[in-house]
Amino acid sequence: MKKELLSGVNQIVLEALFRGFRVLYREDSRVRKEIHQWRDGLTLKLVCGPGGAVLAMRKDPEKGIARIRRAQRADITMRFKSVEGAFRVLSGQIGVADAYAAHLFFLEGDIYQTMSFVRCVEYLEAYLFPPFMSKRILKEVPEKQVSSLLVYGKALLESGR
């Protein structure tokens, strides 16, 4: 697949991740608890390869997370080495832990705080991906507190801002 196409898919999945995070902040107590541990204003960025899609966000005391400008320097940045590597993770071919083990991304910032973010992504993956995929990419699939359909529905209605 062409790099531009993969980047486009990555951008769509990042949008789903952002909205999913917002929904789970309200619907899943474990995600809410994780995000509550972050300090207010903590900024995070997911960069999907050089010139690739970017998700830039900060902890928001009301909404859980809110967007920030993509050019802004973040406290924590997970930077994929390639667009293709990011696509493998975002399309559910490989989990975050396996991606780390395969050196698909590197990290700028505090490893300690990043682990909480990784757990949130794994909770989200359990909702967003069908069971046959989440079983393959997660060491243990966390129990869902609400249905995936509800998360998808609310994510569609969620403000992207």
Binding site: A97, Y100, F106, L107, E108, G109, L138, E140
Partner: protein
């Protein structure tokens, strides 16, 4: 095992009798003219440091710094980097255990990246190549393997957290393993650091980042520990056993630097940060319970380890379905022998840990980078259960 792996070990190894005598040559070959020597007060007092300083011959030393605490801290690293610049040093020679070596790694990172605060360089594999600062590491314990790793664990004393730094920029140019450096280690510390080596090798062999090269290093290290740890504890003056353990420590370090460590280290770092349990003691206490936790997904790997933990005869006599359990039993047996010989604590209770700290330890362990590569999902409940089992009531 991952479908892709990376393996890095650029450190030159000088290992054997008289290895420390070559340090001046190695430093000069790296372009060093005025090294800063980092060590600690105990090594200065017992004369280990003087063996290295005497070996420097006509190479002028810029500064000898021996006030490194037991747990390396970000403040200490920042302070030493300042002194390095003030004294006009151009290279580093670290003589000590894990704390001294990790401190030196932090100082090297700060100097080479032209930074003032180590906190600004936090991350994993994100530091670009900086100015080359010649760096020779001389371990005086055989446990941390820090001389062979791209990892430094440095305490943030304000947050009570041990921070992990992962970068090939941390790796020494040369590691010097000389049996004279570990000859005076008391039996208890020999036992504790030896179990740290064993833990590095076993976790490296079972984590999800394992690869064929790290496996080879890990398995060789386990064999060397089995053959030499009890010997070195009982006969501390055995240069052969001391050197074998130093080699094992280096091999296990190179192994886990590339495959990483798992739940035992995640909890061990947390116990160190929150309760002050010495790292080797924590590894000794936690290793069997960590293996039992991972056994569900690591039975094959642990089964293969039996050959190196117990030898060919035991391996052959043990049915394949029982090998994993037997491997864990061998670790327990070794731990028990070390307890008898040295009094090394086998439980968290013996180590003076207050169970009231378990929730904080669990929270810290979950956020440790080692949790992500553990073969089984690390949850708060699992960590608490392991801590309760290890408390030993």
């Amino acid at each position: 095992m991952s479908t892709y792996f990376e393996f890095t070990n650029p450190t030159k190894l000088c290992s054997g009798t008289g290895a420390a005598d070559n340090i001046a040559y190695e430093l000069k070959m790296l372009g060093a003219r005025k090294p800063m020597v980092l060590s600690d007060g105990v090594l200065e007092k017992i004369g280990t440091l003087s063996i290295v300083l005497n070996a420097l011959g006509d190479l002028p030393v810029g500064r000898v710094f021996t006030e490194i605490p037991r747990d390396s801290s970000i403040d200490t690293v920042n302070r030493i980097a300042e002194e390095y610049r003030d004294y006009g040093c151009d290279s580093l020679l670290a003589v000590g255990g894990g704390s001294v070596l990790d401190t030196a790694k932090g100082v090297r990172l700060l100097i080479s990246q032209k930074a003032d605060d180590l906190k600004t360089l936090m991350g994993c594999e994100s530091i670009p190549r900086g100015a080359h600062i010649p760096f020779v590491a001389v371990p005086t314990t055989a446990g941390t393997g820090s001389e062979a790793t791209a990892v430094a664990v440095i305490k943030d004393t304000k947050a009570h957290v041990k921070m992990e730094y992962i970068s090939t920029e941390l790796m020494p140019d040369v590691a010097v393993l000389d049996p004279r450096m570990t000859m005076t280690l008391p039996p208890r510390i020999t036992a504790s650091t030896g179990m740290d080596t064993l833990c590095h090798a076993i976790e490296a062999y079972s984590c999800i980042q394992k690869n064929p090269v790290s496996d080879a290093y890990a398995l060789t290290a386990i064999g060397l520990v089995r053959e030499n740890l009890i010997k070195a504890v009982r006969f501390g003056g055995s240069a052969k056993a001391r050197l074998a353990l130093a080699n094992a420590s280096f091999l296990a370090g190179a192994s886990f630097s590339n495959s990483m460590v798992g739940i035992v280290h995640a909890i061990g770092h947390a116990l160190g940060g929150v309760c002050g349990v010495p790292h080797g003691d924590a590894m000794n206490i936690l290793l069997p319970a960590g293996m039992m936790f991972n056994r569900k997904v690591c039975a094959d790997s642990y089964g293969k380890l039996l050959f190196y933990l117990a030898g060919e005869e035991v391996y052959e006599k043990t049915p394949s379905r029982k090998r994993a359990d037997r491997a864990i039993a061998e670790v327990l047996r070794l731990r028990s022998r070390l307890h008898t010989l040295t009094g090394l604590p086998q439980t968290l209770k013996e180590a003076g840990v207050d169970p009231a700290a378990f929730p904080e330890v669990a929270k810290t362990a979950l956020n440790d980078g080692a949790s992500i590569v553990n073969p089984r999902q690390v949850t708060r409940e699992a960590v608490i259960r392991i801590l309760e089992v290890c408390y030993g009531d």
